[in-house]
Symmetry: C5
Subunit: 361 residues, 5 copies
């Protein structure tokens, strides 16, 4: 009961898990933790020769950049000011379900086509204090512009910005579909880092188990299992989504870009495979740990058994001659005492030989 | 034997599980618990401008509302008065198999097309006294009307009624197919709540296991496993059903609505994924619990072994000099007693060092 | 070795498992237990207005009923008189492989199309003395007649006969395809009863485990596992078979009947799902049982450890002053005895506190 | 290390597992154990009216029989004389890959079409000294002839020869495709025998476990698992192969024969199902065995605990009054001894009641 | 903590696992260990009559061989000198993604078509010091030439070179597609060797477990599991890749070669099957090991229990008559001592009989 008390912060977070039951689809409610107070919007308007970067304040400032034939990347950080976001979305005619899904940060990753718009939900992963955390990144792109939405101010896309700053690159020459690929690619690149961390933790546990220092192995194993489950949840649905994007017939994604998407698809499969292998490894480690415990118990039991089975009979012999009967002939014999010692030594030697034969010593 | 006695209420319920063997298909028998005495029928006749809500008594009162071109939602509560329901169904030409399935509350969830009519069986879940209970909700819709059937008076669809009360919404503008979507959506919304409760219980067990207070962990784990199995049974078959509805070529489900159905399909997949992840988590918790028990046993054994292996040899030494032999030279020596103490202390130190090296202390 | 002896009856049964190696396909050998001495044939010739039921003796008597345009159901009980059956089959031109499969009662359930004839193998299940037994029921139907074959005289199809006795029902109006559906449906109806029994047994084990009275849990769990495996074997292959019958293009199965077959297909899926869920439940129960055993062992060990670790040191102290050294100053002191008691009580209190802190008491 | 020594014969056998790395495809190397010194060839040239059987010496003798329009079955035993076989194969234009695969007895079973020729690899199973052994049987057939190759002189196809000796049978009337079916069918017939043996072994283990005589259960279980794995490996790939043969469009396999192949396909599925069920059974038996061991340990521990916890405190009491303090008032009292006995009996009764309540006695 | 220190070399290796996050696709970074300092290039220009082998220094030397109509195999060893390799790739117009993937040695195996070029990533496996190591081999081929890239100087393809040296072979007559097949085939041939080694290790563990010498079984089992996981990762993705190559419609792979590819595909399936079987075997071995440990513990416990339960009561009896009460009538009786012995012997016989009945002795 008192435990329930302690857990309350967790449960408050849980209450954010879903919107009110039965609300209409398209009802805009932000579901998730509030990570940023104000919405920050940054516009990247580019073609092969030119790159304009601007932080904007009002939605109106946004329009002249976006409604041009050259590609524009609008980066939006913070999902709390729904009114403000709604104005933006209405301006660029986002489908109501897209709007709802951007705000619901408990979505599973997916890629969906809404005719003129393609909508992607991705999960940015990072490890903080040994916990696997995630931030939802949504991307909407059409033939002319691309919007990215993220919950916090984390500089996830910094490398993209650096590459965008260089003239005459494929990124500058290509349209929003390539930019969408680039955003997806970078997030999956981060996954490899997480995977590496998990691999390393598994190796540490393995080394600890070899070394016999496995006091914390159990909790470490459980923690990694939990991380693997969460990780898998974030990447597994992407496999099919990316493939359906590759097979997509619309002109929104160019054939050139599809080759690159195939590459991303390959990476997701590689990560999913590694996760599955890791799961198997962890399961094998758990078996090993369990057997280690049994082995240790066996050793403890052996020591107890050896000591007890040697000394209990000896103590019995000593006890016999500690009895106070008046008529015990042995008591008066002269060599009784050394004979008693002799018997006890013989018993001990017999026991030791028995244990040696049993391979317990 | 006496156990069988105690279980009888359960078995009585079990007897409701199926109708008489070999009865003709379309034989109308109510299979399930009786949750409501009288059948309650409420009609919602609506278009964009108008909403008529009426509780009706006789089937005849029903007809003028339903046989109009604008959509009508007939909400039926209680499945016991078969004669009464039969009259209703005959009036609106329900297929015999639909009639049979509405009454059989042990159906698995499904969506089936009977030409002009689409028939859905859904499972409303709720947790009462820590038990996962379910109520069957059936929906039949055509191009002009939609019927919903439920077992009890639970106000499952209250939020729908509230939304229906508002003019000019998508719900008021759309037909029975959208209403069918809305009913399905709300039931799946409830699932997220149940999922949250289960997640919370898993977290509590996890915390208890970390804290070592796992006296009830075993039964909690088994209870959650049972809930997960039942839950999965209620949602798993929906995945394919919804997808086949989306791919359906008939004009009964409009393309607009299909986008929303895709959203529902997404939610079901998300829930199934979460259930699978939970199952894995619970399995990991069980492993952890099992290992915990082994660890505790190990600790108990270590204490026993340490105490016993230290004191049993000492007691033996004391026993030796408790013997009453007449000729035991040591007994008469002046320093025998302190020497005996010395030996015993040395043995003890040796044992302690041995245990330290073994990492048992 | 002596065990092999005891098992001989089982092995004799096993020898019935297959016909002679390498015999030609279509070689007619009855494989299975002999359950009935004489072949019993009953003819049901019916249309909407008329129903003739007749037990026949010679094959010749059979012909006038079967070779009419209205549907005829020929019910054959007993598979031993191969000569007699062969005459029957030749008359109605059964394919050699059908003939062979009817006699081989170890067949897995299946539905196969041989052009003009559709052949179904079904498994009738019943529980006797806690054992799951099965009887093979084969059905062959064409556009004009339907034959059912069963091993024993069990009145499996009694409810069908009762329904057939009523005029103007769907059964009387429809052809052999509907009758085939009805036969299949009734057998699957029996499955629900078996499922119920198994569910009940699982609940009893569950209650016993909760109550701690799990002496027989292990064997009950194994028995149920065995039943689930056998049950699954009898129903699993039907899933695909029924679906391929539904998708069948031939005119042998009418569209109307296909709707009913879809219902049967639904039932089989429901049963398979339940079996899988039961399997998972049983597996969870086994885990629970295993953990229960470990817990009990833990408790036993704790009692041993507490008693032993408290009294072994005390006995040692008592042993010290039971030594017979001539020079033991404490022996002569006046308050030695009460002091010794004091020390022993302090040691006991210390131990108890230690155990309390460890939560062992 | 010394173990490796002991295992050397096994490893020598293993070296036969594959040909030299990087040798050209079609390089003819016999891979497997040498089971027969000389190649034995027997020719069966038959049509409906005539059957010529002849053991031949030189390849040239072979030609007049095979190059006739009526079907010829050439049975080849022994795979060691590669030169000799090569001559044969060249004569009848076997594809190089077929030649290679016939010689490699580690092939998995498969059916492959090489245009005019269909090539089948099958595994003949038999149990010798409790070990599951296999012999590879390869079959090549065209429209006019069929070759079978086997490693040893085992009379696998004796029943075929007996049937072939009878005039006017389907076998004599049909072509090589039917003969191919017959060969495959007989090998799968043998599988049922093996399956029966395994079933019987499982039943014996089950009975032993029930009877508590499970000393060898562990090794028996492991042995059966190994057999099931090997068995599955020999039959599993056949499923798809046979089905692709049934769907084959070429005229090599006649429609009539395909009906019979469907029957074989059915048998393979039935065997695979049984193997899977057996695997589950064995797994359940292992669980049972494991729990049995825990139960036994529990019982051992209970006896120890009961004896130890009763007598250790009593021994302590006796120890107290074995002390030699000069001033112990109880020692002088007249009724001390009977009182001491009284206390000890009370302690014993208390303990026994405690154990009774715990259900340990 | 100190463990992390020790692991640092591993982690440095891990850092090679991926390139910088967010770098553009096609950015050329070598990912993997540096195994060779200088890039070594060897050209094999051949047709049926002629074979020119030449080690070249500058890229320019390469061109006259490759840009001829007859097939040329360019073998490249060492992946570190990116500038040098880039020059080569630019000359022969490799797709940027191919270039990137050749350098990234953490790729999963795959076969991809880039229009005119087909790109294959393969994993060469070898066991060194009991560890399963891998080297990535990439192959690019067009209609006219084939390039192979490997990390080290290992003479993997020596057998190919030997076969290539022979005139008039299929290899000399065929084009780069056949050479690609040959390279793939040889790598998979090596897999059989690894498989054999793993099989052998499994057999050794099995023998050790039978012999009861299972001290290292646990670590061996874990090691093999790890190897199986890694092995599977290297071969599993090839299955689909090869099949898609076989189904490929382009003219790059000739129909003749496809027959051989089918053979390779067969081998990969065979290996994957064997790996799965091995995994099951290892799992069964682990179960066996676990049960072995329990059995041993049982035996240890039995010895302890037998000794302790026999001698503890005896010691108690001896303790009774070691008490120093003044009034203990038995002490003065003449036959007390032999009677005490008698009682003790009777108790012992009783205990032994009890243990015999329990089958513990």
């Amino acid at each position: 009961m008192s435990l329930r008390k302690k857990l309350s912060p967790v449960r408050i977070k849980n209450n954010l898990f879903r919107k009110e039951i039965g609300s209409a689809p398209g009802t805009l409610t932000h579901i998730g933790e509030k990570k940023l107070d104000k919405v920050i919007i940054e516009i990247h308007d580019y073609d092969n020769d030119r790159l304009d970067i601007k932080k904007i304040e009002s939605i109106a400032d946004c329009k002249p950049y976006v409604h041009t034939p050259n590609p524009t990347w609008v980066q939006v950080k913070g999902l709390h000011d729904i009114e403000y976001l709604k104005e933006l979305w209405e301006e660029f005619e986002f489908h109501p379900l897209i709007q709802e899904d951007i705000l619901n940060t408990t979505q599973r990753p997916k890629i969906e086509s809404y005719g003129e718009q393609i909508f992607m939900v991705l999960k940015m992963l990072y490890i903080e204090d040994g916990k696997l955390l995630l931030e939802q990144v949504s991307v909407v792109f059409t033939e002319k512009f691309i919007f990215s939405f993220q919950e916090s101010e984390r500089k996830i896309f910094l490398p993209i910005k650096e590459r965008l700053a260089i003239n005459n690159t494929r990124m500058r020459k290509s349209g929003p579909d390539y930019m969408a690929y680039a955003l997806m690619d970078i997030i999956i690149d981060y996954y490899f880092g997480i995977l590496e961390d998990i691999n390393e933790e598994i190796e540490i546990i393995e080394d600890e188990l070899w070394a016999g220092e496995d006091v914390n192995a159990l909790s470490s194993i459980h923690k990694i299992r939990r991380q693997l489950i969460q990780f898998r949840k974030s990447i597994w649905p992407l496999r099919d989504s990316i493939n359906s994007l590759i097979r997509d017939e619309s002109s929104l994604v160019k054939d050139e870009t599809k080759l690159f998407l195939r590459d991303v698809s390959d990476h997701t499969i590689q990560i999913v495979d590694s996760l599955d292998n890791n799961r198997e490894m962890v399961s094998s480690l758990h078996d090993m740990h369990q057997t280690n415990i049994s082995n240790k118990m066996n050793e403890v039991m052996k020591v107890l058994t050896i000591i007890a089975t040697i000394f209990i009979p000896l103590t019995f012999i000593a006890g016999i001659y500690g009895m106070n009967f008046d008529y015990m002939p042995e008591l008066g014999w002269h060599y009784s005492y050394p004979i008693a010692w002799g018997v006890m030594i013989l018993v001990t030697i017999g026991m030791v030989l028995f244990f040696k034969r049993k391979n317990w010593m």
